[in-house]
Symmetry: C2
Subunit: 204 residues, 2 copies
């Protein structure tokens, strides 16, 4: 019934920040640039040396990594665990979708930025190269179920598929989702065949 | 296929500590007793006013609640998120099963206790009164699948059923598990009928 369609390696996303050039230069100083310390799996994405402090109504998160390159919008991606510490109530959203999302204060060594929105909990998703998607009969914005094995095994439902020629195959979850089922980076999970999964999606 | 067997309210367990009388009195002083501030759902269990500081190789967790009454063993229940902060690697275990579990240092206002073992990540489980279990054809130590709805919907597999005449019906998860699927206390989840779930458990 629940056949495996394909296997996908896991990428666990800790809390992180994306910044516009304008916000970066307020926080780190005019003329400053991001310093790459490590390439991420998705081409062009990298972890920067620079970190910021995030301040919310109830708490502070220190040394939050900036993920480069700089973007056309600033965005803070937290786990729900983080959001309770900060005292904000962010929605679960795909990257860039900020409607009705809360803001926060960012502090860097050279200045402070007040975001009026852009704090989200990332919607879990699979990055899939176009040729791989075609092979498995999937398309951009499809939803699939993902099986995680082991003693805390579970099935993630409604997992968004994002398709682009430049993507590397990778299942992105946040730290709460990873810890709920003991996942680590580069673990392998199984996308279930949607054809055998209709019964499941009708429950709940 | 995945029919609902019964519905169960959720109890989310934050990090907490169970203590022996001896350990409690080292931490809080000879002759001291636990002060109840709130009854929990399971009969006899309560949140105490007293808290301890937990120290591990890499960090500290402050103001960790003691759950009463005092027990025949001391035990620290953390989320995996907490365990990373503390720098320990606890196994996922049912309460009281401490073999090969790490220890930690507990600090109270009157003293310090070094546990050589007893730090665990709680195995998610359903507390079920005996009459309810009988009605649904379940028995102690059975494993079931539990459906959580909503935008972060998922199916928890291998959920332990614990049956006792004094239990109140309740599905216990830790904060990582709750945050992975946006659960809150008293939310309702669905236990799936094991008869329709055999196909699922064969995957992964």
């Amino acid at each position: 019934m629940s056949k495996v369609l394909l296997e996908v390696p896991v990428g666990v996303s800790g809390r992180h920040v994306h910044l516009t050039k304008e916000h970066f230069q307020i926080l780190f100083g005019p003329g400053q640039e991001l310093t790459k310390i490590r390439d991420l799996v998705q081409p062009g994405e990298f972890a920067a040396k620079e970190t910021v402090t995030i301040v919310g109504p109830k708490g502070v998160l220190e040394k939050v990594r900036i993920i480069g390159p700089l973007r056309s919008y600033s965005q803070v991606e937290l786990s729900r665990t983080d959001s309770f510490k900060l005292g904000v109530n962010p929605p679960v959203r795909d990257s860039g979708d900020h409607h009705n999302s809360p803001g926060c204060v960012l502090i860097g060594p050279a200045g402070v930025v007040t975001l009026t929105q852009g704090v989200i909990i990332a919607l879990r998703h699979i990055h899939m190269p176009t040729n791989e998607a075609r092979r498995y009969g999937l398309k951009d914005k499809d939803r699939v179920n993902v099986q995680v094995g082991g003693e805390r095994g579970l099935i993630f439902q409604n997992v968004l598929v994002r398709v682009h020629p430049n993507y590397r195959l990778e299942f992105h979850v946040d730290t709460d989702e990873a810890n709920a089922c003991l996942l680590n980076n580069e673990d392998i999970v199984q996308v279930l065949d949607p054809a055998g999964e209709r019964a499941l999606s009708m429950v709940g």
